[in-house]
């Protein structure tokens, strides 16, 4: 079994991008802040005019953990696996997994790039360490 994210009124901007393997974010037309998580208003200036921009998919590991225990049956066969907070080069921080990388190469500040992995009928951005 697999757990899926649920696209909502707020988050469909991001998840519609995922369907096309694109990291789409809202950028505030007033203060240029890249808004994350998605919202109807910019939390910095309360403006509600945005442009949609595509981020390049590069960033670094801000922090991570390796789950040794499955806290849900969907992950019973997946331990050990890595959950990380990825700080994208453009600023937003995403929760994701580090994939296609040996566990001993996973360290804070390592550069990563996006790897799209299928999840149900869509894709999720995961990340691998690059040298």
């Amino acid at each position: 079994m697999e757990l899926f994210p649920v696209s909502t009124f707020d988050t469909e901007i991001f998840y519609n991008g995922c369907k096309e393997k694109k990291l789409i974010f809202q950028k505030c037309k007033n203060c240029a802040h890249i808004i994350w998580p998605n919202s109807l208003f910019c939390p910095r200036c309360y403006n509600n005019n945005f442009e949609l921009i595509e981020l390049k998919g590069y960033g670094s590991i801000y922090t991570f953990t390796i789950f040794r225990v499955a806290f849900h049956k969907a992950f019973k066969d997946k331990v050990p696996y890595t959950v990380a907070i990825i700080e994208l080069d453009e600023g937003p921080k995403l929760v994701s997994n580090i994939v296609d990388t040996p566990l001993n190469e996973i360290k804070i500040d390592k550069k990563v790039e996006v790897v799209w992995k299928s999840c149900g009928n869509t894709f999720l951005p995961k990340f691998k360490v690059i040298s």
Partner: protein
């Protein structure tokens, strides 16, 4: 904000305990009622005196039982409080709320309770949002909440300053030594050595088994009123000397406060300013300890030591029985039992009232006779913090 006029004006006059640890077959509600009644009796009050009831958050019921709403708790306690309240998502403002209600004269005696049957009901740590099944998008990545989130905060701390298992083992072991003096602690009969700590399985790196809080059945309660009224009641007067609160709020995954300037910093400054004391006036600490790292970052942000110097602060049993600064003298959430912020606060009250038996601060444990104890509570994933400085008058 000048809070000094509130200093030593309000008091905690009674505490309520229940059987705790693994107590099979009981509803969460039954623990609420027992803890509440015991606190009322302990204070020497009657139920008619209680005009405020503040419940901690209630997780979703585990067994075949109703949700322990504050309505049900009030009904079963036979009270009709003027103010009835329950927090939803770990915002830890119970004591600020109580003092505010007393100061404004809306209430005279406020009962604060938390209870659960988490051990018997096998509650998982991941159940942070009152859902049995994860509903947060992060679950798609296998990120389920408290354990992973605090682990990522701790991992970031290891990157920003010198810390890690070599620091945290002292926290776990020192607290266990207190629990070994506390007959009601879940780990009363189990010692913890450095080998036990290091050899325990990793749960979510960098945390091992003994870095994490217990899961408990039981309840805990206390009553807040004015010092004026407290003087006429039976227990020694324990005042609220300082109060602080901060709610950084930002989701831990987007936060910049994982390893410095957590809510503890702002909340601590506020409480110490109100109490008009400095850190060296503190005789003991009861620090919210959902994880060992939480104790370190909280005390670091309070200013007890510089970033990375935690290992020197906690080593050689410095916070254990006989140590220079006792910390979490009941065993805490790690080794006594999990009742959210009421584990630390009620222990602080019990110590100042001199009711702690073999773990009593003072001569019995080769520590200083306590006059001032620093307590704190923390909610969400470092998203909410409150500081309560208690003093024996």
């Amino acid at each position: 904000m000048n809070l000094r006029k509130l200093k030593d004006k309000y008091a905690i006059v009674g505490v309520g305990y229940t059987p705790q640890g693994k107590v099979p077959g009981r509803t969460a509600l039954s623990f609420y009622i027992e803890a509440g009644i015991n606190a009322i009796k302990d204070a020497g009050l009657s139920k008619e005196d209680i005009d405020g009831l503040i419940c901690y958050r209630q997780f979703n019921p585990l067994l075949n039982e109703p949700v322990a709403t504050p309505y049900l708790v009030a009904q079963h306690l036979g009270i009709k409080p003027t103010v009835l309240s329950q927090e939803s998502f770990c915002q830890r403002n119970q004591f600020i709320q109580a003092v505010s209600l007393l100061e404004a004269n809306f209430c005279k005696n406020i009962l604060i309770i938390y209870a659960d049957n988490a051990a018997s009901g096998r509650r998982m740590f991941i159940e942070e949002a009152t859902h049995g099944e994860p509903f947060n998008d992060n679950a798609a990545y296998g990120e389920f909440g408290f354990v992973g989130d605090y682990a990522m905060a701790a991992q970031r701390a290891m990157f920003e300053f010198s810390t890690g298992p070599e620091t945290w083992k002292h926290i776990a072991i020192n607290q266990r030594k207190w629990a070994n003096l506390n007959p009601i602690a879940q780990y009363f009969n189990e010692t913890l050595t450095e080998e036990d700590y290091i050899n325990a399985p990793l749960i979510a790196d960098p945390f091992r088994k003994y870095d994490a809080a217990l899961i408990s059945d039981g309840g805990r309660a206390c009553i807040v009123t004015t010092v004026e009224r407290a003087r006429d009641l039976k227990n020694p007067v324990v005042t609220i000397m300082g109060l602080g609160e901060a709610n950084p709020s930002v989701d831990v995954h987007q936060a910049n406060y994982l390893a410095k300037n957590t809510g503890a910093k702002q909340s601590g400054e506020m409480a110490f300013k109100m109490a008009d004391i400095s850190l060296d006036a503190i005789d003991g600490c009861e620090i919210y300890d959902c994880f060992t790292y939480t104790v370190e970052i909280t005390m670091q942000d309070y200013g007890f030591f510089k970033p990375g110097e935690g290992v020197d602060f906690f080593k050689n049993g410095a916070t254990a029985p006989g140590g220079v600064l006792p910390v979490n003298t009941s065993g805490g959430l790690l080794s006594e039992a999990y009742f959210m912020g009421l584990t630390p606060v009620t222990e602080g009250v019990m110590q100042l009232m001199g009711r702690c038996g073999d773990r009593q601060l003072g001569e019995k444990t080769s520590t200083k006779e306590p006059e001032i104890i620093l307590c704190c509570d923390n909610g969400g994933v470092l998203q909410s913090h409150s500081t309560i400085i208690l003093r024996k008058l």
